[in-house]
Structures are given as C-alpha cells and as structure tokens.
Amino acid sequence: MNPTVKTRIKRFTPLQRVFHLFLMLTFLIQSATGLARMFVETSWGRNLGYLFGGYEASRTVHIYVGIIMLCGLALHIFYILFKINWRNFMSSLYGPDSLLFRFKDVRDLFQHVAWFFGLKKAPEFDRWGYWEKFDYWAVFWGMIILGVTGLLLAYQMAASRIMPGWGLNVALWVHRIEAILAMAHVFLIHFFVGHLRRHNFPMDRAMFEGSVSLDATRHERPAWIARLEQSGELDGVLVSEAMTAQRAIHYVIGFAAIAAGLYLFIGALMNVPYISW
C-alpha cells in the first residue's frame, strides 16, 4: 500500500478524537466503578472493585472521574461556542455539517427503516447520520442527568441543605436507571453500529484515525461527497492512510474498549439476580 496515495477522507479533527478518547476512557472507568459498587454483594462486583482499591476507593474514583467528565463537558461546550460561525449563525446551526437534528433526519430514519425491509432505496446520508446525532446528544442529556444526581449523591450534606434528604432516594434511582441506559446503549447499540455491522467490521477506525475510506463513504454518505465535489472542497479533505503501526495501536485500543464494555455488560447481566436493589 502506497502511503502517499490519498484514499481516505478526513472526518474528525485531532481535538474531536481527543474528546472521544477522553469520553471513552472516563465512561469505562465510571461504568466499572459504578458497577463495582452496585454489585458489591457478588464476588464479581467485589473483584471489579479491587481493581480500583475496594468498595470505598471505587466511590472516590467514581466521584473524581465524574467531576473530570463534567469539566470535559464544559470544555466541549466552550469548543462548540468557538466552532459556531457566528456571522452565519443560522446556517452554521442548521447546515449539513451541524449535529443539530433537521427534518431530513426524520425522513432519513423512516426511509432507512423502509430500506431494512427492502421497501425503498437507502437514504442518501450527508456528513452525519441521524443515529450519530442521537448518540452525540444522548451524551449531553446523560451527562447532565448523571452529573447532577451524582453530585447530589456525592455531596449529600450539602445537597440536603438545598433539598430534603428524601431527594437522595430519588437521585439514587434516577442515577441508576440513567447509568444502566447509558451503558446498555453504548455497549450494545453504539458498539454494534460503529464497529460490528458488516459495513464497519471489524472496527470503524474513523474516531481513532480521523478519516474514513473514500470509497466506502461515497456509498454510505453520497450526499456529503456530492456536496464536497460540488463546492470543490473534496481534494482539500483527502488524506492518506495511517501507518501500519498506528493502525495496530488503534485496533488494540478499540478492541480493548469493546472487550471491557462487553465484560462489564455480560458480568452485570449474569449477576443481576444476586443483588438487592
């Protein structure tokens, strides 16, 4: 393979990949420490907790990593504010490169489902598919719910000054259900769509390498490529393949994350009957 041939199209900037890597690592730590505490009545949960120094230490790690995640969210919001084109505010917000939902996404969803059953031609996706936009915004909603309830639970004394103590009972259940939803969504749906479906199998390298195959993208996201060709921007965003060693590292990180996620998900499912809620 000639490394100088530009066969790939740039999809994520280095900073966006750093955000994803940060989220991936912190999310896995939060999942592991949270499950270690939830499953402390089982040997699986206790062993998981030992990785972080035990039951109490898992709580400490959970709290500090949670605060770091919230800082990451704040930084990401600043990043968005910086990235918005304030002179063309509306087109920046609702243009094809934006991650905000548009009416086309609803149309794409229905057409895509119809394509599953062979009833319609597949929709011509632009840069971001509706499922990717959902994943992106789910992180916002999840981190706000988990962050607020997590802070209330972490700093109970302070929390009980601004609300009655029984609010902590509510916060605990909201935190739990939202965390279970987030983990199940990431470990089942996000991993499958991003990594294991035939189109991306064995792994979508886009978030690590920053680029995707031009040929594959031309077929999966024809509207994006057509737009770039029409505006003459395509050549400017073409890049060459990463070096073999780099790709190997990407695969190791990606597969390690999938293995960790599946271990947590399957372990939790197997031990659900043995814990008291």
Binding site: R37, V40, E41, Y55, H112, V113, W115, F116, F117, G118, K121, A122, P123, E124, F125, W131, F134, Q156, M157, S160, R161, M163, P164, G165, W166, L168, N169, V170, W173, V174, I177, E178, I180, L181, A184, H185, L188, I189, F192, V193, L196, R197, R198, H199, S213, D215, A216, H219, E220, P222, I275, S276, W277
Partner: protein, 235 residues
C-alpha cells in the same frame, strides 16, 4: 455622591462575599462535636450485640428469609399490631415469642436496604438495644426531632434534620403502592424507565434489522475490483 455610592456598593459586595464564604452551622454539629466520640459514648451504654448481628454480610441469615411473605392482605394480625404501635416505648411489647425471633423474620424488606446490604449495618446499630422504641415515641433516638443527631450523625458527621429525611427503608419504586407512599420516587422511577424502555424499543430492533440487512447486501464491483460492502445503495 459617587463616593457614597461606591462605598455602598463595596459594603454590599463585602456582605455578599461574607454570606457566601461563611457556611451556616449545621445543627447536629453543635451536639455532636466528634462522630466517633459520640458513637462510642452512645454505644457504650447499649451493652453488646448478638453474635449473629455482627457476623460479616454473607453469613448473616437476614436476607431472603423463607416463609415470610406478604399475602393478599398487607399485614398479618401480629404485624398489624406492630404497625399500630408507632408511639410506644417498647414497640414490640406483647408480641409472642419475640425473644426467639430476629428482626428480619417480621421485617424482611427492611433488611434489604443499602445501609444493611452495603454499609454492613445491623438493625441495632440504628434502632438501639431492647426495648426498641417506636420511631415516633417522644424519647426515642429515632424520633425525627433528634434522629439526625442521635442516629445519622454516628456515621454521617454533620447530619441535619433535612439530611435525616432520607428514607433508609425505601419502598420498592416499581410497586403501585409506592405512588401513595412515596409519589416523587414512583413518578421519577417510571419516567426514567419509560425513557430507557423507549430508547431501546426504538433502537434495539433498528440495530438488529440494520445488522441483518447488511448481511444480505451484494458487493458491487467496479472495473473488476471488489470494493467495500455497500450498505446503503445496494440492491
């Protein structure tokens, strides 16, 4: 005038900063200067624990007690007796064979909360020694007027009355009866469950169908070269 105005602003700023920086005293802190000392002083007077109460978590025969089940009627006559005794100095007074029973024989659900299963607390560490007073008995340490200082602050230093409003033995949020007992918990629980179920009802079949559909797409060839599977426009 400007100087007076700037002085007023400065004074207001100092007062505001003072209010923010000086935290208000928590009532329990006045009574319980040291949680450890208070705990020891209180516990020293209560005698000793039964052996079964201080064994490690997995060896305590408290959780999943057989033959104690709530039937169609919510309370057995014996339990009803206890439930109507919320103001007695000895809440278990007159209950037959009381000495031979363990707490979870009659209160199985109360032995499955977080304090019991995770913090490893025994019943008596909060409820005290015999006779166990009803929680609303005036002199009971569990009485809401002093619970925060006499019970919660043993472990949670600085616990306030508001903090002690935490429900240590919460009802199962999924049960219909919780809408009456603890409506905020029940509504929050079901709203969150609806969001979670809604997400999976939408995305789980979507993902499965997508995965299956991609298995059956044809590979397109271009100039005798096989290219990556076309997941979108094939067929």
């Amino acid at each position: 005038m400007d100087r007076i105005r700037s002085f007023q602003l400065w004074l207001a700023g100092v007062l505001l900063a003072g209010l923010i920086l000086s935290g208000s005293t928590v009532s329990a802190q006045e009574e319980v200067a040291s949680a450890v000392r208070r705990y020891k002083a209180y516990e020293a007077s209560t005698g000793y624990y039964e052996e079964y109460e201080v064994l490690p978590r997995r060896q305590r025969p408290l959780i999943g007690v057989p033959n104690i089940r709530a039937g169609i009627f919510p309370y057995s006559p014996t339990v009803a007796k206890v439930r109507s005794r919320a103001h007695l100095a000895d809440s278990h007074q007159g209950i037959r064979f009381y000495k031979g029973r363990q707490c979870a024989d009659c209160h199985p659900a109360a032995a499955t909360d977080i304090h019991t299963t995770r913090a490893n607390l025994t019943c008596r560490q909060c409820h005290g020694d015999e006779p166990i007073a009803s929680i609303n008995y005036y002199w009971s340490p569990m009485n809401p007027i002093r619970r925060h200082a006499y019970v919660c602050a043993k472990c949670h230093e600085g616990a306030s009355a508001s903090y002690a409003a935490y429900v240590v033995h919460p009802p199962n949020p999924a049960m219909a009866s919780t809408f009456k007992e603890f409506p905020v918990l029940a509504y929050s629980f079901w709203i969150m469950v609806a969001i979670a179920v809604g997400t999976f009802v939408l995305f789980l079949p979507h993902t499965i169908l997508w995965g299956i559909r991609e298995i059956f797409i044809k590979k397109k060839t271009k100039e005798n070269k096989t290219i990556e599977p076309d997941s979108q426009n094939a067929d």
